[in-house]
Protein backbone atom coordinates (compact mmCIF):
# COMPACT_ATOMS: atom_id res chain seq x y z
CA UNK A 1 0.00 0.00 0.00
CA UNK A 2 1.39 3.42 -0.95
CA UNK A 3 1.39 6.31 1.51
CA UNK A 4 -1.60 7.98 -0.19
CA UNK A 5 -3.61 4.83 0.42
CA UNK A 6 -2.29 4.55 3.96
CA UNK A 7 -3.50 8.07 4.77
CA UNK A 8 -6.89 7.27 3.29
CA UNK A 9 -7.04 4.02 5.28
CA UNK A 10 -6.12 5.84 8.50
CA UNK A 11 -8.98 8.28 7.86
CA UNK A 12 -11.47 5.49 7.23
CA UNK A 13 -10.20 3.73 10.36
CA UNK A 14 -10.92 6.98 12.28
CA UNK A 15 -7.33 7.03 13.52
CA UNK A 16 -6.56 10.75 13.89
CA UNK A 17 -2.89 10.46 15.06
CA UNK A 18 -2.17 8.03 12.22
CA UNK A 19 -3.65 10.47 9.67
CA UNK A 20 -1.28 13.19 10.89
CA UNK A 21 1.72 10.87 11.05
CA UNK A 22 1.17 9.46 7.55
CA UNK A 23 0.64 12.93 6.01
CA UNK A 24 4.01 14.02 7.41
CA UNK A 25 5.54 10.81 6.06
CA UNK A 26 3.98 11.41 2.64
CA UNK A 27 5.24 15.00 2.48
CA UNK A 28 8.74 13.81 3.45
CA UNK A 29 8.56 11.28 0.61
CA UNK A 30 7.83 14.15 -1.77
CA UNK A 31 4.12 13.64 -2.33
CA UNK A 32 2.37 16.84 -3.36
CA UNK A 33 -0.03 18.39 -0.82
CA UNK A 34 -2.76 18.56 -3.47
CA UNK A 35 -2.41 14.83 -4.20
CA UNK A 36 -2.76 14.04 -0.50
CA UNK A 37 -5.81 16.29 -0.29
CA UNK A 38 -7.55 14.75 -3.32
CA UNK A 39 -6.46 11.13 -3.24
CA UNK A 40 -6.30 10.56 0.51
CA UNK A 41 -8.53 12.94 2.44
CA UNK A 42 -11.34 13.74 -0.02
CA UNK A 43 -11.31 10.16 -1.32
CA UNK A 44 -11.44 8.90 2.26
CA UNK A 45 -14.37 11.15 3.12
CA UNK A 46 -16.16 9.86 0.02
CA UNK A 47 -15.85 6.35 1.39
CA UNK A 48 -17.08 7.52 4.80
CA UNK A 49 -20.07 9.15 3.08
CA UNK A 50 -20.91 5.99 1.14
CA UNK A 51 -20.73 3.85 4.24
CA UNK A 52 -22.95 6.35 6.11
CA UNK A 53 -25.53 6.17 3.32
CA UNK A 54 -25.39 2.38 3.36
CA UNK A 55 -26.03 2.28 7.11
CA UNK A 56 -22.60 0.87 7.88
CA UNK A 57 -21.35 4.05 9.57
CA UNK A 58 -23.36 6.30 11.88
CA UNK A 59 -23.09 9.88 13.11
CA UNK A 60 -20.15 9.23 15.50
CA UNK A 61 -17.99 7.78 12.69
CA UNK A 62 -18.78 10.70 10.37
CA UNK A 63 -17.96 13.26 13.06
CA UNK A 64 -14.64 11.63 13.95
CA UNK A 65 -13.68 11.23 10.28
CA UNK A 66 -14.43 14.92 9.72
CA UNK A 67 -12.23 15.76 12.69
CA UNK A 68 -9.44 13.64 11.19
CA UNK A 69 -9.93 15.38 7.85
CA UNK A 70 -9.63 18.81 9.48
CA UNK A 71 -6.47 17.73 11.31
CA UNK A 72 -5.01 16.80 7.92
CA UNK A 73 -6.18 20.04 6.30
CA UNK A 74 -4.43 22.03 9.01
CA UNK A 75 -1.14 20.49 7.86
CA UNK A 76 -1.81 20.77 4.12
CA UNK A 77 -3.46 24.17 3.70
CA UNK A 78 -0.33 26.31 4.22
CA UNK A 79 1.50 24.13 1.68
CA UNK A 80 -1.07 24.38 -1.09
CA UNK A 81 -0.49 26.95 -3.83
CA UNK A 82 -3.03 29.69 -4.42
CA UNK A 83 -4.40 27.76 -7.39
CA UNK A 84 -4.61 24.51 -5.45
CA UNK A 85 -6.31 26.32 -2.59
CA UNK A 86 -9.05 27.47 -4.91
CA UNK A 87 -12.02 25.59 -3.66
CA UNK A 88 -14.53 23.52 -5.58
CA UNK A 89 -17.20 26.08 -4.76
CA UNK A 90 -18.78 27.83 -1.83
CA UNK A 91 -21.94 26.73 -0.04
CA UNK A 92 -23.78 28.95 2.44
CA UNK A 93 -25.94 26.99 4.85
CA UNK A 94 -28.17 27.69 7.82
CA UNK A 95 -31.13 26.44 9.87
CA UNK A 96 -34.08 28.61 8.92
CA UNK A 97 -35.79 31.22 11.05
CA UNK A 98 -37.80 29.80 13.92
CA UNK A 99 -35.78 26.61 14.23
CA UNK A 100 -32.89 26.12 16.64
CA UNK A 101 -31.75 22.60 15.66
CA UNK A 102 -28.31 22.18 14.17
CA UNK A 103 -26.99 18.62 14.23
CA UNK A 104 -28.26 17.84 10.71
CA UNK A 105 -26.86 21.07 9.31
CA UNK A 106 -23.53 20.46 11.04
CA UNK A 107 -23.23 16.98 9.55
CA UNK A 108 -23.89 18.38 6.07
CA UNK A 109 -21.22 21.03 6.64
CA UNK A 110 -18.68 18.40 7.66
CA UNK A 111 -19.43 16.24 4.65
CA UNK A 112 -19.21 19.24 2.29
CA UNK A 113 -15.90 20.34 3.76
CA UNK A 114 -14.74 16.77 3.51
CA UNK A 115 -15.53 16.91 -0.21
CA UNK A 116 -13.45 20.06 -0.64
CA UNK A 117 -16.14 22.73 -0.62
CA UNK A 118 -15.82 26.03 1.21
CA UNK A 119 -18.74 26.33 3.61
CA UNK A 120 -20.18 29.46 5.21
CA UNK A 121 -22.08 28.39 8.33
CA UNK A 122 -24.85 30.88 9.11
CA UNK A 123 -25.93 29.08 12.29
CA UNK A 124 -29.52 28.55 13.47
CA UNK A 125 -32.70 30.71 13.42
CA UNK A 126 -31.46 32.41 10.23
CA UNK A 127 -33.81 35.04 8.73
CA UNK A 128 -33.90 35.55 4.92
CA UNK A 129 -31.93 38.83 5.25
CA UNK A 130 -29.00 36.98 6.70
CA UNK A 131 -28.97 34.54 3.77
CA UNK A 132 -29.03 37.52 1.39
CA UNK A 133 -26.12 39.22 3.16
CA UNK A 134 -24.16 35.97 2.95
CA UNK A 135 -24.94 35.65 -0.76
CA UNK A 136 -23.76 39.18 -1.47
CA UNK A 137 -20.61 38.72 0.61
CA UNK A 138 -19.53 35.17 -0.28
CA UNK A 139 -21.20 34.51 -3.69
CA UNK A 140 -22.01 30.88 -2.94
CA UNK A 141 -22.93 28.51 -5.77
CA UNK A 142 -25.35 26.72 -3.47
CA UNK A 143 -27.45 27.82 -0.51
CA UNK A 144 -28.56 25.12 1.94
CA UNK A 145 -31.66 25.52 4.10
CA UNK A 146 -32.09 23.16 7.06
CA UNK A 147 -35.24 22.53 9.11
CA UNK A 148 -36.45 20.08 11.74
CA UNK A 149 -39.71 21.53 13.03
CA UNK A 150 -42.82 20.98 10.91
CA UNK A 151 -44.20 24.29 12.19
CA UNK A 152 -41.34 26.15 10.54
CA UNK A 153 -41.59 24.45 7.13
CA UNK A 154 -43.65 27.32 5.59
CA UNK A 155 -40.66 29.56 6.36
CA UNK A 156 -38.68 27.55 3.78
CA UNK A 157 -40.94 28.81 1.03
CA UNK A 158 -40.78 32.37 2.36
CA UNK A 159 -36.99 32.20 2.39
CA UNK A 160 -36.84 30.76 -1.13
CA UNK A 161 -39.14 33.53 -2.40
CA UNK A 162 -36.91 36.19 -0.89
CA UNK A 163 -33.85 34.63 -2.53
CA UNK A 164 -35.60 34.78 -5.94
CA UNK A 165 -33.51 37.72 -7.29
CA UNK A 166 -30.36 35.61 -6.81
CA UNK A 167 -31.66 32.35 -8.29
CA UNK A 168 -29.73 32.78 -11.56
CA UNK A 169 -26.43 32.71 -9.68
CA UNK A 170 -27.10 29.89 -7.24
CA UNK A 171 -28.98 26.72 -6.42
CA UNK A 172 -31.08 26.19 -3.33
CA UNK A 173 -30.95 22.83 -1.58
CA UNK A 174 -33.18 21.93 1.37
CA UNK A 175 -33.05 19.16 3.92
CA UNK A 176 -34.17 18.02 7.36
CA UNK A 177 -36.25 15.30 8.99
CA UNK A 178 -39.73 16.36 7.78
CA UNK A 179 -38.67 17.20 4.19
CA UNK A 180 -39.42 15.01 1.18
CA UNK A 181 -38.53 15.34 -2.51
CA UNK A 182 -42.19 16.03 -3.15
CA UNK A 183 -42.15 18.94 -0.71
CA UNK A 184 -38.93 20.30 -2.22
CA UNK A 185 -40.53 20.23 -5.68
CA UNK A 186 -43.67 21.88 -4.37
CA UNK A 187 -41.89 24.89 -2.90
CA UNK A 188 -39.49 25.26 -5.81
CA UNK A 189 -36.18 24.17 -4.30
CA UNK A 190 -33.48 23.08 -6.77
CA UNK A 191 -32.61 20.03 -4.75
CA UNK A 192 -33.25 17.90 -1.70
CA UNK A 193 -31.18 15.22 -0.01
CA UNK A 194 -32.30 12.70 2.59
CA UNK A 195 -28.97 12.57 4.45
CA UNK A 196 -25.66 14.43 4.80
CA UNK A 197 -23.72 12.24 2.36
CA UNK A 198 -26.44 12.52 -0.30
CA UNK A 199 -26.37 16.28 0.20
CA UNK A 200 -22.79 16.31 -1.08
CA UNK A 201 -23.83 14.29 -4.16
CA UNK A 202 -26.66 16.76 -4.78
CA UNK A 203 -24.38 19.81 -4.48
CA UNK A 204 -21.87 18.22 -6.87
CA UNK A 205 -24.64 17.38 -9.33
CA UNK A 206 -26.06 20.91 -9.29
CA UNK A 207 -22.69 22.62 -9.68
CA UNK A 208 -21.85 20.30 -12.60
CA UNK A 209 -24.92 21.58 -14.46
CA UNK A 210 -23.04 24.65 -15.74
Amino acid sequence: MGTLDEIKAALINLDIPQVQCKIHQGLAEGLSPSAILEKSLIAGMNTIGSRFKEGDFFMPEVLVAAKAMHTGLDILKPLLTAVENRVKGTVAIGTIKGDLHDIGKNLVIMMLEGAGFEVVDLGVDVPPDKFITAIETHHPRVVGLSVLLTSVMPQLQTTIQQLEPYRRELYIVIGGAPITQQYADKIGADGYAPDAASAVDKVRELIARN
Binding site: L14, I16, G55, F57, F58, M59, P60, E61, L63, V64, K67, G98, D99, L100, H101, D102, I103, N106, V124, D125, L149, T150, S151, V152, A177, P178, P194, D195
Partner: protein
Amino acid sequence: MLSRERMLMALNHQEPDRVPIDFGGTTATGIQVTAYDCLKKLLGIETPSLIANKRAQLVAVEEVIKKRLHTDVDGIGLNPPASLPAVVAPPVDTSPVNISIDEWGGYWLSGVSGEHTATNPPLARMETAAEVEAYSFWPDPTDPARYAGLREKVLDLKSHSQRAIAFNLGCQIASQARNMRGYEQWLMDFILNPALAETIMRKIMTIHLVIAEQALAVIGDQVDVVTVADDLAIQNAPMMSPAVYRKMIKPMQQEMFGFIKARTKAKLFYHCCGAASFFLDDFLEAGIDILNPVQVSATNMQPEYLKKRYGSRVTFWGGVDTQQLLPYGSPQEVADGVKRLIDIMAPGGGFILATVHNIRPEVPPENLIALFDTALEYGRYK
Protein backbone atom coordinates in the same frame (compact mmCIF):
# COMPACT_ATOMS: atom_id res chain seq x y z
CA MET B 1 -65.76 -0.12 31.01
CA LEU B 2 -63.63 2.15 33.18
CA SER B 3 -60.68 3.88 31.58
CA ARG B 4 -58.18 2.21 33.85
CA GLU B 5 -59.59 -1.25 33.19
CA ARG B 6 -59.50 -0.55 29.45
CA MET B 7 -55.86 0.51 29.66
CA LEU B 8 -54.79 -2.48 31.71
CA MET B 9 -56.44 -4.90 29.30
CA ALA B 10 -54.73 -3.30 26.32
CA LEU B 11 -51.40 -3.25 28.14
CA ASN B 12 -51.84 -6.98 28.85
CA HIS B 13 -52.46 -7.61 25.15
CA GLN B 14 -56.18 -8.21 25.49
CA GLU B 15 -58.97 -6.49 23.57
CA PRO B 16 -61.03 -4.15 25.79
CA ASP B 17 -64.23 -2.38 24.64
CA ARG B 18 -62.27 0.11 22.55
CA VAL B 19 -58.72 1.21 21.78
CA PRO B 20 -57.50 3.31 24.73
CA ILE B 21 -56.59 6.93 24.01
CA ASP B 22 -53.89 9.12 25.52
CA PHE B 23 -53.95 12.88 25.25
CA GLY B 24 -51.58 14.74 27.58
CA GLY B 25 -50.92 11.85 29.94
CA THR B 26 -47.18 11.79 29.36
CA THR B 27 -44.50 14.37 28.71
CA ALA B 28 -44.26 13.12 25.11
CA THR B 29 -47.98 13.11 24.24
CA GLY B 30 -48.98 16.61 25.29
CA ILE B 31 -49.98 19.82 23.54
CA GLN B 32 -48.35 23.21 23.10
CA VAL B 33 -50.30 26.17 24.48
CA THR B 34 -51.16 27.92 21.17
CA ALA B 35 -52.57 24.70 19.70
CA TYR B 36 -54.42 24.06 22.97
CA ASP B 37 -55.98 27.53 23.02
CA CYS B 38 -57.14 27.13 19.40
CA LEU B 39 -58.71 23.80 20.33
CA LYS B 40 -60.48 25.36 23.30
CA LYS B 41 -61.76 28.21 21.14
CA LEU B 42 -63.22 25.73 18.67
CA LEU B 43 -64.90 23.91 21.56
CA GLY B 44 -66.17 27.18 23.07
CA ILE B 45 -64.21 26.75 26.28
CA GLU B 46 -62.99 29.98 27.86
CA THR B 47 -60.62 29.27 30.73
CA PRO B 48 -57.05 30.42 31.26
CA SER B 49 -54.55 27.76 30.18
CA LEU B 50 -51.83 26.71 32.57
CA ILE B 51 -48.32 25.95 31.35
CA ALA B 52 -46.96 22.75 32.88
CA ASN B 53 -43.66 22.75 30.96
CA LYS B 54 -42.35 26.21 30.20
CA ARG B 55 -39.51 25.20 27.90
CA ALA B 56 -41.73 23.12 25.59
CA GLN B 57 -44.74 25.39 26.30
CA LEU B 58 -46.87 22.35 27.13
CA VAL B 59 -50.10 22.86 29.05
CA ALA B 60 -51.67 21.02 31.96
CA VAL B 61 -54.67 19.58 30.06
CA GLU B 62 -57.93 20.46 31.83
CA GLU B 63 -60.51 17.91 32.90
CA VAL B 64 -63.15 19.24 30.49
CA ILE B 65 -60.76 18.65 27.55
CA LYS B 66 -59.69 15.24 28.81
CA LYS B 67 -63.36 14.24 28.88
CA ARG B 68 -64.11 15.74 25.46
CA LEU B 69 -61.19 13.92 23.81
CA HIS B 70 -61.90 10.69 25.70
CA THR B 71 -58.42 10.22 27.10
CA ASP B 72 -57.83 7.21 29.32
CA VAL B 73 -54.63 8.40 30.99
CA ASP B 74 -53.78 10.87 33.74
CA GLY B 75 -50.16 11.87 34.09
CA ILE B 76 -48.24 12.65 37.22
CA GLY B 77 -44.66 13.80 37.68
CA LEU B 78 -42.15 14.58 40.37
CA ASN B 79 -42.04 18.03 41.91
CA PRO B 80 -39.11 20.21 40.91
CA PRO B 81 -36.21 20.34 43.36
CA ALA B 82 -36.42 23.03 46.06
CA SER B 83 -34.08 25.33 44.17
CA LEU B 84 -36.30 25.73 41.10
CA PRO B 85 -39.50 27.75 40.66
CA ALA B 86 -42.88 26.01 40.67
CA VAL B 87 -43.83 24.12 37.49
CA VAL B 88 -47.28 25.56 36.89
CA ALA B 89 -47.36 29.24 35.91
CA PRO B 90 -49.50 31.36 33.57
CA PRO B 91 -48.20 31.71 29.96
CA VAL B 92 -46.85 35.24 30.07
CA ASP B 93 -43.61 34.86 28.17
CA THR B 94 -43.69 36.34 24.69
CA SER B 95 -40.04 36.96 23.84
CA PRO B 96 -38.87 35.00 20.78
CA VAL B 97 -35.91 33.31 22.38
CA ASN B 98 -35.43 32.70 26.08
CA ILE B 99 -32.45 31.33 27.86
CA SER B 100 -33.10 29.16 30.88
CA ILE B 101 -31.07 26.85 33.08
CA ASP B 102 -32.13 23.39 34.18
CA GLU B 103 -31.39 21.54 37.40
CA TRP B 104 -28.34 19.87 35.81
CA GLY B 105 -26.76 23.25 35.13
CA GLY B 106 -27.52 23.01 31.41
CA TYR B 107 -28.69 26.01 29.43
CA TRP B 108 -31.59 25.97 26.99
CA LEU B 109 -32.69 28.23 24.18
CA SER B 110 -36.43 28.21 23.71
CA GLY B 111 -39.05 30.06 21.70
CA VAL B 112 -42.73 30.83 22.17
CA SER B 113 -43.93 27.91 20.08
CA GLY B 114 -42.07 25.52 22.38
CA GLU B 115 -39.06 24.85 20.19
CA HIS B 116 -36.04 24.34 22.41
CA THR B 117 -32.49 23.16 22.23
CA ALA B 118 -29.69 22.63 24.74
CA THR B 119 -26.84 25.09 24.51
CA ASN B 120 -23.51 25.83 26.24
CA PRO B 121 -23.10 22.22 27.44
CA PRO B 122 -21.46 22.37 30.88
CA LEU B 123 -19.27 19.27 30.50
CA ALA B 124 -18.03 20.12 26.98
CA ARG B 125 -14.41 20.75 27.86
CA MET B 126 -13.87 18.02 30.43
CA GLU B 127 -11.35 15.29 29.70
CA THR B 128 -11.15 13.14 32.82
CA ALA B 129 -13.48 11.23 35.12
CA ALA B 130 -12.21 13.32 38.05
CA GLU B 131 -13.35 16.52 36.33
CA VAL B 132 -16.78 15.02 35.71
CA GLU B 133 -17.08 13.90 39.31
CA ALA B 134 -16.05 17.36 40.56
CA TYR B 135 -18.69 19.15 38.47
CA SER B 136 -20.50 21.56 40.81
CA PHE B 137 -24.09 21.19 39.66
CA TRP B 138 -24.91 17.49 39.84
CA PRO B 139 -28.49 17.49 41.14
CA ASP B 140 -29.25 16.24 44.64
CA PRO B 141 -31.55 13.26 44.07
CA THR B 142 -32.43 13.07 47.77
CA ASP B 143 -33.92 16.59 47.87
CA PRO B 144 -37.19 15.92 49.76
CA ALA B 145 -38.99 18.66 47.82
CA ARG B 146 -39.12 16.30 44.81
CA TYR B 147 -41.29 13.79 46.68
CA ALA B 148 -43.29 16.05 48.99
CA GLY B 149 -46.99 15.28 48.86
CA LEU B 150 -46.54 12.88 45.96
CA ARG B 151 -48.47 9.98 47.46
CA GLU B 152 -51.31 12.28 48.56
CA LYS B 153 -51.44 13.69 45.02
CA VAL B 154 -51.76 10.24 43.46
CA LEU B 155 -54.35 9.06 45.98
CA ASP B 156 -56.37 12.24 45.48
CA LEU B 157 -56.21 11.78 41.70
CA LYS B 158 -57.37 8.18 42.04
CA SER B 159 -60.26 9.19 44.28
CA HIS B 160 -61.91 11.23 41.56
CA SER B 161 -60.50 9.90 38.29
CA GLN B 162 -61.00 6.46 36.82
CA ARG B 163 -58.17 6.78 34.36
CA ALA B 164 -54.93 4.88 34.37
CA ILE B 165 -52.06 6.79 35.97
CA ALA B 166 -48.79 7.31 34.13
CA PHE B 167 -45.91 8.34 36.35
CA ASN B 168 -43.52 10.42 34.25
CA LEU B 169 -40.14 9.53 35.69
CA GLY B 170 -37.93 10.46 32.72
CA CYS B 171 -34.53 9.01 33.66
CA GLN B 172 -32.80 9.97 30.43
CA ILE B 173 -29.24 8.72 30.44
CA ALA B 174 -27.96 9.16 26.89
CA SER B 175 -30.00 12.29 26.11
CA GLN B 176 -28.94 13.87 29.41
CA ALA B 177 -25.29 13.14 28.60
CA ARG B 178 -25.84 14.59 25.11
CA ASN B 179 -27.27 17.79 26.58
CA MET B 180 -24.45 18.18 29.09
CA ARG B 181 -21.59 17.24 26.79
CA GLY B 182 -22.84 18.76 23.52
CA TYR B 183 -24.38 16.72 20.71
CA GLU B 184 -21.28 16.32 18.50
CA GLN B 185 -18.83 15.79 21.35
CA TRP B 186 -21.12 13.25 22.98
CA LEU B 187 -21.28 11.25 19.73
CA MET B 188 -17.52 11.46 19.14
CA ASP B 189 -16.82 10.33 22.72
CA PHE B 190 -18.18 6.89 21.83
CA ILE B 191 -15.16 6.47 19.54
CA LEU B 192 -12.51 8.83 20.87
CA ASN B 193 -13.07 8.64 24.61
CA PRO B 194 -15.45 5.80 25.48
CA ALA B 195 -14.29 5.71 29.10
CA LEU B 196 -15.37 9.31 29.60
CA ALA B 197 -18.67 8.69 27.82
CA GLU B 198 -19.25 5.79 30.20
CA THR B 199 -18.32 7.87 33.27
CA ILE B 200 -20.74 10.65 32.35
CA MET B 201 -23.64 8.33 31.59
CA ARG B 202 -23.04 6.23 34.70
CA LYS B 203 -22.94 9.32 36.90
CA ILE B 204 -26.27 10.42 35.43
CA MET B 205 -27.76 6.95 35.90
CA THR B 206 -26.66 6.84 39.54
CA ILE B 207 -28.65 10.01 40.19
CA HIS B 208 -31.68 8.61 38.35
CA LEU B 209 -31.57 5.40 40.38
CA VAL B 210 -31.81 7.30 43.67
CA ILE B 211 -34.71 9.35 42.32
CA ALA B 212 -36.45 6.22 41.02
CA GLU B 213 -35.94 4.42 44.33
CA GLN B 214 -37.29 7.26 46.45
CA ALA B 215 -40.22 8.03 44.14
CA LEU B 216 -41.30 4.44 43.69
CA ALA B 217 -41.10 3.81 47.44
CA VAL B 218 -43.78 6.49 47.73
CA ILE B 219 -46.06 5.76 44.76
CA GLY B 220 -44.76 2.61 43.03
CA ASP B 221 -47.78 0.63 44.26
CA GLN B 222 -50.28 3.21 42.99
CA VAL B 223 -49.35 3.87 39.38
CA ASP B 224 -50.12 1.82 36.27
CA VAL B 225 -47.39 3.00 33.94
CA VAL B 226 -43.91 4.41 34.55
CA THR B 227 -42.49 6.43 31.67
CA VAL B 228 -38.80 6.73 30.85
CA ALA B 229 -37.15 8.22 27.79
CA ASP B 230 -33.94 8.28 25.81
CA ASP B 231 -33.75 9.30 22.16
CA LEU B 232 -31.31 7.00 20.39
CA ALA B 233 -32.45 7.30 16.77
CA ILE B 234 -32.89 9.94 14.10
CA GLN B 235 -35.33 10.01 11.17
CA ASN B 236 -33.65 7.32 9.09
CA ALA B 237 -31.15 5.54 11.33
CA PRO B 238 -29.98 4.93 14.88
CA MET B 239 -27.78 7.71 16.31
CA MET B 240 -24.92 5.31 16.90
CA SER B 241 -23.94 1.85 15.66
CA PRO B 242 -25.63 -1.22 17.16
CA ALA B 243 -22.20 -2.27 18.46
CA VAL B 244 -21.72 1.00 20.35
CA TYR B 245 -25.29 0.95 21.66
CA ARG B 246 -24.99 -2.65 22.88
CA LYS B 247 -21.64 -2.14 24.53
CA MET B 248 -22.17 1.26 26.13
CA ILE B 249 -25.86 2.07 26.56
CA LYS B 250 -27.83 -1.16 26.67
CA PRO B 251 -26.16 -2.49 29.86
CA MET B 252 -27.16 0.68 31.70
CA GLN B 253 -30.70 0.44 30.35
CA GLN B 254 -30.89 -3.16 31.53
CA GLU B 255 -29.69 -2.17 34.97
CA MET B 256 -32.01 0.82 35.30
CA PHE B 257 -35.11 -0.81 33.83
CA GLY B 258 -34.58 -3.85 36.07
CA PHE B 259 -34.18 -1.55 39.09
CA ILE B 260 -37.45 0.23 38.29
CA LYS B 261 -39.39 -2.96 37.62
CA ALA B 262 -38.21 -4.45 40.91
CA ARG B 263 -39.94 -1.54 42.66
CA THR B 264 -43.32 -1.40 40.90
CA LYS B 265 -45.73 -3.62 39.05
CA ALA B 266 -46.44 -0.77 36.64
CA LYS B 267 -45.71 -1.32 32.95
CA LEU B 268 -42.53 0.31 31.69
CA PHE B 269 -43.10 2.86 28.92
CA TYR B 270 -40.01 3.79 26.93
CA HIS B 271 -39.86 6.80 24.62
CA CYS B 272 -37.38 6.78 21.75
CA CYS B 273 -38.02 9.06 18.77
CA GLY B 274 -37.15 8.28 15.18
CA ALA B 275 -36.13 4.95 13.67
CA ALA B 276 -36.38 3.07 16.98
CA SER B 277 -37.08 -0.37 15.49
CA PHE B 278 -33.37 -0.93 14.75
CA PHE B 279 -32.88 -1.41 18.50
CA LEU B 280 -36.33 -2.71 19.46
CA ASP B 281 -35.17 -6.28 20.13
CA ASP B 282 -32.56 -4.84 22.49
CA PHE B 283 -35.05 -2.53 24.21
CA LEU B 284 -37.28 -5.55 24.82
CA GLU B 285 -34.37 -7.54 26.24
CA ALA B 286 -33.61 -4.57 28.50
CA GLY B 287 -37.13 -4.82 29.88
CA ILE B 288 -39.49 -2.34 28.23
CA ASP B 289 -43.21 -3.16 28.00
CA ILE B 290 -44.33 -0.19 25.91
CA LEU B 291 -42.70 1.63 22.98
CA ASN B 292 -43.48 5.30 22.36
CA PRO B 293 -43.91 7.37 20.18
CA VAL B 294 -43.98 4.88 17.27
CA GLN B 295 -42.79 7.50 14.78
CA VAL B 296 -44.43 5.95 11.74
CA SER B 297 -42.78 8.43 9.33
CA ALA B 298 -39.28 7.20 10.24
CA THR B 299 -37.35 4.40 8.52
CA ASN B 300 -38.49 0.84 9.35
CA MET B 301 -41.34 2.15 11.49
CA GLN B 302 -44.29 1.16 9.28
CA PRO B 303 -47.20 0.05 11.52
CA GLU B 304 -47.68 -3.20 9.54
CA TYR B 305 -44.05 -4.20 10.03
CA LEU B 306 -44.04 -3.30 13.73
CA LYS B 307 -47.30 -5.05 14.54
CA LYS B 308 -46.38 -8.21 12.66
CA ARG B 309 -42.89 -8.53 14.04
CA TYR B 310 -43.31 -7.17 17.59
CA GLY B 311 -47.06 -6.92 18.26
CA SER B 312 -47.23 -9.82 20.72
CA ARG B 313 -44.23 -8.63 22.73
CA VAL B 314 -44.65 -4.88 23.11
CA THR B 315 -47.47 -2.36 23.44
CA PHE B 316 -47.32 0.46 20.90
CA TRP B 317 -48.30 3.83 22.38
CA GLY B 318 -48.59 6.63 19.82
CA GLY B 319 -48.60 6.23 16.04
CA VAL B 320 -50.65 9.20 14.79
CA ASP B 321 -48.27 11.02 12.44
CA THR B 322 -47.33 14.56 13.44
CA GLN B 323 -44.89 15.28 10.60
CA GLN B 324 -47.37 15.30 7.70
CA LEU B 325 -50.86 14.03 8.57
CA LEU B 326 -51.83 16.15 11.59
CA PRO B 327 -50.36 19.51 10.55
CA TYR B 328 -51.02 19.33 6.80
CA GLY B 329 -53.83 16.77 6.28
CA SER B 330 -57.53 17.64 6.10
CA PRO B 331 -59.86 16.46 8.88
CA GLN B 332 -61.06 13.72 6.50
CA GLU B 333 -57.49 12.61 5.81
CA VAL B 334 -56.80 12.57 9.55
CA ALA B 335 -59.89 10.42 10.15
CA ASP B 336 -58.85 8.03 7.36
CA GLY B 337 -55.31 7.84 8.72
CA VAL B 338 -56.56 7.07 12.22
CA LYS B 339 -58.81 4.31 10.84
CA ARG B 340 -55.91 2.73 8.95
CA LEU B 341 -53.75 2.86 12.06
CA ILE B 342 -56.46 1.24 14.18
CA ASP B 343 -57.04 -1.47 11.54
CA ILE B 344 -53.38 -2.44 11.76
CA MET B 345 -52.52 -1.85 15.41
CA ALA B 346 -55.69 -2.66 17.37
CA PRO B 347 -56.12 -6.44 16.88
CA GLY B 348 -55.20 -8.37 20.03
CA GLY B 349 -54.74 -5.21 22.14
CA GLY B 350 -51.26 -3.88 22.83
CA PHE B 351 -52.10 -0.49 21.35
CA ILE B 352 -52.71 2.89 22.99
CA LEU B 353 -53.57 5.56 20.45
CA ALA B 354 -51.76 8.90 20.77
CA THR B 355 -49.98 11.45 18.64
CA VAL B 356 -46.34 10.76 17.75
CA HIS B 357 -45.14 14.05 19.21
CA ASN B 358 -46.42 16.77 21.46
CA ILE B 359 -48.98 18.67 19.38
CA ARG B 360 -47.46 21.86 18.05
CA PRO B 361 -49.01 25.19 16.99
CA GLU B 362 -49.37 24.30 13.30
CA VAL B 363 -51.92 21.54 13.98
CA PRO B 364 -55.46 22.77 13.17
CA PRO B 365 -57.92 22.10 16.01
CA GLU B 366 -60.38 20.57 13.53
CA ASN B 367 -57.79 17.85 12.92
CA LEU B 368 -57.56 17.11 16.63
CA ILE B 369 -61.32 16.73 16.90
CA ALA B 370 -61.30 14.45 13.82
CA LEU B 371 -58.47 12.43 15.37
CA PHE B 372 -60.01 11.81 18.76
CA ASP B 373 -63.63 11.43 17.64
CA THR B 374 -62.60 8.89 15.00
CA ALA B 375 -60.51 7.05 17.58
CA LEU B 376 -63.50 6.85 19.91
CA GLU B 377 -65.96 5.63 17.28
CA TYR B 378 -63.81 3.52 15.01
CA GLY B 379 -61.69 2.12 17.85
CA ARG B 380 -64.50 -0.05 19.23
CA TYR B 381 -63.64 -3.73 19.30
CA LYS B 382 -66.36 -5.91 17.80
